[in-house]
């Protein structure tokens, strides 16, 4: 026997799900604004140093970003498939799809680590640690400051997201959720889709301009 997922201060499971979903969306909105602050900083310095930003963007390898975009988009898809199974009450399959998504997340981080070590070797570092000889223009080190801030914060979100997916996936596989109540699966998915959504904007701004 498992305990009912309904907390005592809610009338019924429907209202609880609605409140949970609403709370998650409020949190996601605050996450969007957290990243917006960094994107605003990017907009300012891109405006002030557009040539240096264009050259610095060309100095980093585009294929890393392209492959990582494909990995993240696909992981978002597998998370959606996991929810699809949870809706039907197939907890085991949800766990399986979430495990696939976590594997994609690890692949994403591994590729990011390779990319970071490449930047370290080239001296493409923020602030006064910048020592990339091929590009010595005002604003070039600012591009890499923002690069590390944005991709670093996104990376932290990837780590948090894959942890949530792993926990919820294991619970789903153990049959904690039913077709009638699977809101945690949905909320974990929402968080992961937001991580994907943010990367969709990071990719063109960092790699393609």
């Amino acid at each position: 026997m498992q305990a009912s997922p309904l907390a005592h201060h809610f009338e019924n499971i429907e209202k609880q799900s609605h409140a949970e979903r609403l709370g998650m969306w409020l949190f996601l909105a605050s996450e969007v604004l957290l990243f917006t602050a960094l994107f605003a900083a990017y907009a300012v310095y891109r405006y002030l140093y557009s040539d240096a930003f264009a050259e610095a963007s060309r100095a980093i390898e585009t294929w890393f970003g392209l492959v990582n975009t494909i990995i993240l988009v696909t992981s978002s898809f597998t998370v959606a498939l996991g929810l699809n199974e949870a809706v039907k009450g197939n907890g085991k399959k949800t766990g399986l799809w979430f495990a696939v998504s976590v594997a994609f997340a690890i692949a994403f981080l591994a590729l990011k680590a390779v990319e970071y070590s490449h930047h370290f070797q080239e001296g493409q570092l923020p602030g006064r640690y910048y020592s990339f000889h091929e590009l010595q223009a005002p604003g070039a080190s600012l591009f890499f400051s923002l690069y590390f801030l944005i991709t670093g914060l996104h990376g932290v979100h990837v780590i948090v997201g894959m942890t949530i997916l792993a926990v919820v996936g294991v619970k789903a596989a153990r049959g904690k959720y039913t077709a009638a109540y699977h809101t945690p699966v949905e909320l974990a998915g929402l968080y992961w889709h937001l991580v994907d959504l943010i990367w969709i904007f990071v990719f063109p701004l960092i790699y393609l301009v």
């Binding site: 140093y49 998370v79 063109p204 393609l208």
Partner: protein, 131 residues
Amino acid sequence: MADPRPIAHEEHLATHHAHGMRYVVVWIALLVLTVVTYAASRVHLPGGWHVAVALLIAIAKGALVALFFMHLWDQRGANRLIFVTSLAFVALLIGLTILDNATRFPLANPPGSAGALPWGGADRDPPKLPQ
């Protein structure tokens, strides 16, 4: 409201349908758009259009994720409102910051940047102030 059914019930119904095929279509669309945005960055476009095209494609991809993977398409009421409100604040934050930077006078911009005085321009002796 046109629909007399309560919001919670509506959401409950909407999120208890399986969307397998829809997810596949969205996934393929996202992959195609990713390749398109990469290809668009490789071709020659007149100045400024690269960013516009890249951002338009990113907005299209983001809309697909938010509407179908995040189920905003199926949901009503508050969740949509929160998301749209956060987008309004995104527009305000970035839009006003860019407006500020675009309308500064040269001395307010750091040397070497667009809109700053030419090199050496700020190094000239400042005009003597009347005693």
